[in-house]
Amino acid sequence: MGLIRGIAEAVLEKAKVEMKDYIIKFIEAEKEAEKEAAGKAAVIAEKPAEPVQAEEKEPEVPEKRKEIFPIVEKDLVKYIYRTKPELISIPRELADLMQMLPVGEFACFMKLFIFTTEQKKNFGYIGNNLKKKIGLDALSPEEFEELIANLEAYGLMKVEQVSDNQRTFILYIPFDEETMSVSEMPRTEKQPERNESRNSNQQKKAPARKEPEKAEKKTPVKAEPVKEEKEEDDRPGRSRIGMEDDELYKSYRTFVNLEIDKAKMRVGRSNFDKIYMEAVKYIDKKYGFKVLSDSEKFKEHLTNYYISAFDIKSFEEWKKSK
């Protein structure tokens, strides 16, 4: 068995090296072709007799979109670092791949790599906020989108459309058993079953929690988020990958937003400010101080707190009542 494994590993290693050589040769050949094309364009431009033709040919060069072949053909998985790494080190495998990237893509990938490592995970939301946080705000949205699209084409990144306006990404980082743990397995056909079992587990757990008296005594200001754990997966801000009824969930998010606005009007500005203060204290106590400065997480927990404080229906309840 050991011999067979050894042979298999040797064959894989050889295949990797050959693939790498092939890609390098391909990129070089493409660069030469581009140079030749640029040279020809320059020669044509120099001819004074045919200015119209030169003008016609010029736009063809930038329009020609490069065909990108994936350098990673793995299904990207969400990882979480167990602890914040002291050093941001690049695994050898990743360094070899990054070396092959063009400057723009290399810089973007590197920045994303540093950013995600800092966040202790290899995924996040894509948007202007991300662009700013990785110091690429000088780029136009089109340029940034192009870099993202190219990285996706290289297979170093996976972009998912969570809703109309929200997209998430997963960055390719080789898995390290010692420092990382898998956050979420890639979507499979069995996913709905998992969701169902999770829901049934939540339903089973629900009766065990005995805090009805507390809930009855709730006032808007001192509301304790009792339903928190049950609704952990129903957070409106949370991306629900694997969920089939995305449209329904979108409606639920709108419903929560409206309910919060209504509650704000109902309790009045000063009471709402007090509830917010209580929420901040609660989140600090329960999830730690760091969450307060992590905008996305803070908003998630805050929404959750409001859901509990204003007795807003959970996703499951809301779905049943529809």
Partner: protein
């Protein structure tokens, strides 16, 4: 090497600057400062007892930060639901 006086001064600075803090952005800068100080202390006193003076200063700075965060205008969630 951790200099107690410098650390205590920087924690005190957070308290002072919090009084002038008007936005969530400013608050985040101060929170980062506090987190750095806290990490430095934890790293330095790894496995040992943190002196009361430093512990109190850290607790007080954290309490002030949390209080201030609660006093600032509530985070706008509208874009979060888009």
């Amino acid at each position: 090497m951790l200099d107690n006086r410098i650390l205590l001064k920087s924690l005190n600075d957070i308290d002072v600057k919090l009084m002038l803090c008007k936005t969530n952005f400013e608050w985040e800068l101060l929170a980062k400062k506090y987190e750095n100080a806290e990490n430095e202390v934890k790293k330095f006193f790894k496995g040992k007892k943190i002196p009361d003076e430093i512990k109190n200063a850290l607790d007080s700075a954290r309490a002030s930060l949390v209080k201030k965060k609660g006093e600032l205008p509530p985070e706008d969630l509208s874009d979060f639901f888009k």
